[in-house]
């Protein structure tokens, strides 16, 4: 279980997170909605250890992670697939995946190979392109590679930052069915999305982030019944 409490992060003088508290339960899909600039990516970066928080706590499985370096947090089983599918463009698909398993110990080499096979079963497109450089993949393929790379560290929880952004509707459907499948296989997911309609299909709990604060928290049913959210995020009038 990921428990974020009263978390504040700033870029110089600009406060991006102003005391955010939320919980992502084990085995569930938790979704964070919010407009651009609400602090969603900042929250993900802080949880993953790329940004250091000013105050507050990030607890994962009871252990305090706030302020730890990214490699340490990854070792605790919390992996981030960043926004804009930041794959290593000049490296092959295979090397990208192996880089995802970088923290795993040398003695796990055979398990890493097995995981690679499992990944190729789950993402058949990647198998066809094993030796191709990642920069030559399509946007959807890069997104799948980015998710697959995060999986290679065998995380307990996956932080997914806007996996659907800039992708064609068919590919978005595919990404969401992968999210559902991963969750069924026992990986907890904290998902940041702007596509609320798609997120409703997978998420067990919603948070709405606005101007660095949690503005709403509830189940999918509660969210779909909230007038303001319906109008702003589900496009109803």
């Amino acid at each position: 279980m990921l428990e974020i409490e009263n978390l504040s992060t700033s870029y110089g003088l600009i406060k991006a997170l102003k005391g955010v508290s939320l919980t992502a339960e084990d085995g569930k899909v938790t979704c964070i909605l919010g407009p651009n600039g609400a602090g969603k990516t900042t929250l993900m970066f802080t949880a993953a250890g790329i940004l250091k928080p000013d105050s507050g706590s990030v607890k994962f499985g009871g252990a305090e992670l706030a302020g730890l370096a990214a490699p340490k947090i990854l070792q605790q089983g919390l992996a981030l697939a960043p926004e804009n599918r930041l794959v290593f463009p000049q490296m092959s698909v295979r090397d990208n995946l192996l880089a995802g398993a970088y923290i795993r110990h040398r003695s796990e080499a055979t398990q890493v190979e097995e995981d690679l096979e499992k990944i190729f079963e789950r993402f058949p497109v990647l198998k066809e392109r094993t030796e191709q450089t990642a920069g030559t993949l399509s946007g959807g393929e890069q997104q799948m590679l980015s998710v697959a790379r995060a999986l290679m560290s065998r995380p307990k929880m996956l932080l997914l930052d806007e996996p659907s952004v800039g992708l064609a509707p068919l590919i978005v459907d595919e990404i969401f069915s992968i999210i559902r499948q991963m969750n069924k296989d026992g990986i907890s997911i904290l998902l940041v999305e702007q596509n609320a309609v798609k997120a409703l299909e997978v998420a067990d709990h919603f948070y709405l982030l606005d101007q660095g604060k949690v503005a709403f928290s509830g189940t999918p049913g509660e969210m779909a019944n909230d007038d303001v959210i319906r109008r702003a995020y589900l496009g109803e009038h």
Partner: protein, 298 residues
């Protein structure tokens, strides 16, 4: 027969240029910055080797070890002073200007280590090979084998080890490499040490082939390394190898047919020609075409 002999001589000597360019290219490919102090780091290695020789002995092998070690240490010094404090996107110019200052400093130190200006530099003697009227000079054969070994070791490190995986990942995107658990803080030092090993080896080969070292070697090797790297394609490792071989080949022919005084005219003429015809260098096309990457370099 002359043509064949000259071509072989040029390519074999070019393998030392290839090593020189590889060091340059490795730093550029990973740090995305020019290191103007590269040649003077190599000069420092060579000068230190000559200066220490009376105390250490060891002959040519001693010279090789000290040159390589000195070049790597000078490289790490350059990284700590000029690169690691300026890692941000805005630091590109600052680190280049800083390397210029360190270039002057290392040149000066090296001059002090070489009080007679020109000092002898011993080589490793191996057997010359001759067959069918072609003679492979012993120093050329040494260039070739050492270059093959060094390039093999470099590729093995980059493509067969966990460390190499991290180094390549970090060259593409240091932030994501860190996110995936790589401790990227000391990769700069490792890069400069490897570049120092490659360049130091090249420096030993070239100096021992000349039989002497002068304080001009720093500037000379910066120019040759830069030109070979740019011919092949900036930041591309195969490009550096091709560029080095091409430079050696072309220089040998010009020296043979027109005389040594035309050699540097050719070197820079060739560079001008390539930059006009293929601005990304011979092998640099991929890099040149992908816009995002092209703007991120330099």
């Amino acid at each position: 027969m002359d043509f064949l002999q000259t071509s072989i001589d040029g390519l074999l000597f070019g393998s030392a240029y290839a090593l020189l360019a590889l060091g340059f290219s490795l730093i550029f490919g990973i740090m995305k910055r020019i290191n103007l102090a590269y040649g003077s780091s190599l000069l420092f290695g060579g000068a230190l080797a000559v200066w220490l020789e009376p105390f250490l002995g060891g002959g040519a092998l001693g010279l090789l070890l000290v040159t390589v070690f000195g070049a790597a240490v000078a490289g790490i010094y350059v990284e700590r002073l000029c690169f690691s404090p300026h890692l941000g996107k805005t630091g590109t110019m600052a680190s280049m200007i800083a390397t210029f200052a360190i270039w002057m400093q290392l040149d000066e130190i090296s001059s002090q280590l070489l009080p007679q200006r020109t000092h002898g530099f011993a080589g490793i003697d191996i057997e010359a090979i001759s067959f069918a009227g072609i003679i492979l000079r012993s120093d050329h054969v040494l260039h070739f084998w050492v270059a093959v070994l060094a390039i093999g070791a470099l590729y093995w490190t980059l493509y067969r080890t966990r460390f190499g995986l991290l180094l390549r990942a970090s060259a593409d995107d240091p932030e994501i490499a860190y996110l995936l658990g790589g401790r990227v803080g000391l990769l700069g030092v490792a890069t400069f040490a490897i570049a120092g090993f490659l360049g130091g080896t090249a420096a030993f080969l070239i100096l021992s082939s000349d039989g002497q070292i002068t304080p001009h070697f720093g500037l000379w090797s910066t120019f040759k390394g830069l030109v070979a790297m740019m011919l092949g394609g900036v930041g591309s490792l195969p490009g550096a190898i091709v560029g080095g071989l091409l430079l050696g080949f072309a220089e040998a022919h010009v020296t043979f047919y027109l005389g040594a005084e035309f050699r540097d005219i050719l070197t820079f003429g060739l560079l001008l020609l390539i930059l006009v015809l293929r601005p990304g260098g011979l092998m640099g096309v991929d890099v040149y075409r992908t816009g995002r990457l092209a703007t991120e370099r330099i």
